[in-house]
Symmetry: C2
Subunit: 468 residues, 2 copies
């Protein structure tokens, strides 16, 4: 990952240190902080901890004194007033919709779709829109601690380009849907486009290409089955919305005499690597089906509250040891941000009030959902989601020296209930530092904000068409 | 309010300007911003707006060009990338509990009280604790946009001193409770202490002293009635917790055959200026009683979710045009911050998901709850809660040039769903600037954070007593 010149310098420096009596294996970078919250299987928290990083991966994490004794590096980021944690994983979003932030809030779903989202998308969404929308979302995600996100939108090849340029990790799938989309005229065309995408990103270090049928109610059975086959052929995930609303369930029961989960199962669509978003209206039989397939669930509390979709049975899913992560969903009327620090807080509080038990979804589990459980939901937990030797170096530091961060009695409580997206200081993905001291290093913030304001004028004008 | 020397300079400057051909009445300060969200009765939003301020009050708000033509000032704060809004009003908290931030989360109420809060308070809460805890909360409140807060805790005379020193506005009441408290051995002593407090702060520009019986279930009827009489004698508010939990209601029904509201009403305790916190378990008859008395309600969504208390019927209260504000509650296991920007977002989303209607509690109403409706809940809406000529200059600016703030289609949506406490830039209370460019001008942040960390050690040690 490093230019060979720098490797040479590091090696030379290590040799020099050894020759003057200090030992230590050379690594590219050492990050240290007041607390390292590893999210490893024992949930180890290392006080005054450090992480040695080489190339794209973590070499070792441990007490700072040990890491310093064992490794040498010309680069060292020390944050004595911060927590060092695994990067946050947003398991469901539509990133480019950031350009529609708050376009239509506080309205009924059908009104929202018919009078705002569909016309706005029809009139505005093209490749450039997706490019700038993804840049804006990437900026906001990175600055609030997200290192990996799952996306389902249009022009997903452009999303992939922009995700790589930002330095984020992405599970990205082109929306496959039963009507013409901004870039494909039919689901067949979208499937073909997806296959090209799967080939292009088959072995990318940052991008996991996915097959993304929108939902059971917007696709034919044939398309859904074709999606599963395509995903299996390339051994990539299938991403889908599932049981988001009561209407989706009611319609499925009326038309198919089966819940959406049972119907997808009967079609064989759930046989394999699947990430299902929402899962609000899952019953016990659905949960058993999803558990048996190891389906990952993306719980989106903010979106489910904002759109009155309902409350997903997260406490039940966790008791069943199902892999449940957190997602922000898109920002147009269903959030309106991509801030995972808020999603953790909201998820925990929503479970407590709806299960009538304050012990539901405790802070440690909520933080797990944003990290290692999210990685499990994406079936990427061998690579990301915790700080362990050999895993990808996807790391964040979070300041604990702002007034909202003191005093600290419990590190998980602080992470989930007290710390904010704005407390994120540094972000590394795949061994590359993309945010340092809240400065995004990979994107040009002023041009992105200027472009977002331009789009605001264009989108607003497009919605000003007369209504009946 | 200004030192006479500065007044002189301003007058001299104004005179000089007039003499060189420019007219305009002299004012102390002019604040201008991209948008001025007034929250006046017509909900006027002024694009490129400005506010002329003299002494403690707003002289006039309007388009910047008009204000600049009409007034002259040697001081001018211009925020072309911000919203200028009324300061936020936190209608219920226990500020000093900030030193217990996250001391015991995710536990049942009785466990929380018996094993954490009561022992922690018994062993730690003294005048110095309250002093530093209030300072910490004041810092966090101001930096997240709160200008007025309602407090109920102990050593409230020290809370008043620290509130004035921070430059915040406070409705402050010493907790009156049927067992020995850290500063008073009996409710009678607390009542006597409250009377002294009411006298001391009878005419303070920043402090509204209150009479604060903790609740119906922790006080005798005699104490509750004495509280009402004391409040009436001094024409100050009575602050009380009301129907926070189902248990409170069930116990009241079992013991008194009346809901807490009906029981308080029968005692005459609601006859007058009252601020009731929570109101989760109010039935229709309770709402009618509270409406008839004009009782202000402090809705605390985060606390009610975190402690599994339930969901207050806010949508119903607003339909009845009851004065409902927002409160953070204390930060020890029931929030864990005093960030009103989050409380707005949470309140709106919680109503939507529980009423099954995304139109419930729209952004404009949620922002009203944090400003003018909160002022009405405190019966202080003639003084604060909106930007109108003659009202106190309690103002905040909120940056709209961070990635989470663009693009902006609707200013209320942005305020409630997208902007964060960390986006607050400047804060003025009673005409005095207390935060400028996120720097707290009235408090010494490093010493407060250091002291909070010291208390962390002391409090942790006090909880390490052996448990059965």
């Amino acid at each position: 990952m490093l230019p060979s010149y720098r490797r040479l310098v590091v090696v030379a420096l290590a040799a020099a240190l050894v020759s003057c009596g200090r030992s230590g294996a050379p690594v590219d970078t050492i990050w240290s902080a007041r607390y390292v919250v590893t999210m490893d299987p024992s949930r180890t928290v290392i006080e005054n901890g450090a992480i040695a990083i080489s190339g794209d991966h973590i070499v070792e994490a441990g007490p700072r004194s040990e890491i310093d004794a064992k490794y040498t590096s010309s680069e060292h980021l020390d944050r004595p007033n911060a927590i060092l944690a695994p990067g946050l994983i947003n398991t469901h979003t539509h990133a480019a919709m950031s350009l529609f932030r708050g376009i239509a809030d506080d309205v009924r779903l059908q009104d929202w779709l018919d009078n705002y989202i569909f016309p706005a998308e029809a009139k505005n969404v093209d490749r450039e829109f997706v490019r700038w929308g993804t840049r804006l979302a990437a900026l906001e995600m990175a600055l609030s601690g997200t290192t990996t996100y799952t996306d389902m939108y249009y022009f997903e090849d452009t999303v992939a380009e922009e995700t790589k340029a930002a330095g984020l990790r992405g599970v990205l799938g082109e929306t496959i849907i039963g009507f013409p989309s901004p870039d494909f005229k039919s689901p067949q065309a979208a499937l073909a486009g997806t296959e090209t995408f799967l080939k292009t990103y088959a072995n990318d270090p940052l991008i996991v290409p996915a097959v993304a049928p929108h939902s059971i109610y917007t696709n034919s059975d044939e398309t859904l089955v074709a999606c599963r086959r395509l995903a299996d052929r390339y051994q990539k995930p299938l991403v889908i919305h599932l049981s988001e609303t009561k209407k989706e369930n009611d319609d499925s029961l009326a038309q198919r005499k089966k819940t959406p989960t049972a119907a997808l199962d009967a079609l064989g669509v759930l046989n394999g690597w699947t990430i299902a978003a929402h899962g609000v209206w899952l019953d016990d039989a659905d949960l058993a089906i999803l558990k048996s397939h190891g389906t990952g669930i993306a719980h989106c509390p903010s979106s489910n509250m904002m759109l009155s979709s309902g409350v997903a049975p997260v406490t039940k899913m966790l008791a069943l040891q199902m892999p449940v992560g957190l997602g922000t969903d898109g920002v147009a009327g269903s959030n309106n941000d991509v801030n995972m620090m808020e999603e953790m807080d909201l998820a925990a509080k929503l479970q407590k009030v709806t299960t009538n038990d304050p012990r539901s979804l405790p802070a440690k589990d909520a933080f797990a959902m944003a990290t290692i459980l999210g990685a499990k939901a994406l079936r990427m937990d061998k690579l990301i989601g915790s700080i362990e030797a050999g895993k990808r170096a996807d790391l964040i530091t979070i300041r604990i020296d702002e007034p909202n961060a003191v005093p600290m009695y419990d590190v998980y409580s602080q992470l989930v209930y007290a710390l904010k997206g704005a407390d994120i200081s540094d972000v590394m993905v795949d061994g590359r530092t993309i945010v340092r001291g809240r400065q995004m290093l990979t994107l040009d913030e002023p041009s992105i904000l200027a472009k977002a304001r331009e789009y605001r004028e264009k989108v607003s004008a497009s919605l000003r068409s007369p209504k009946p």
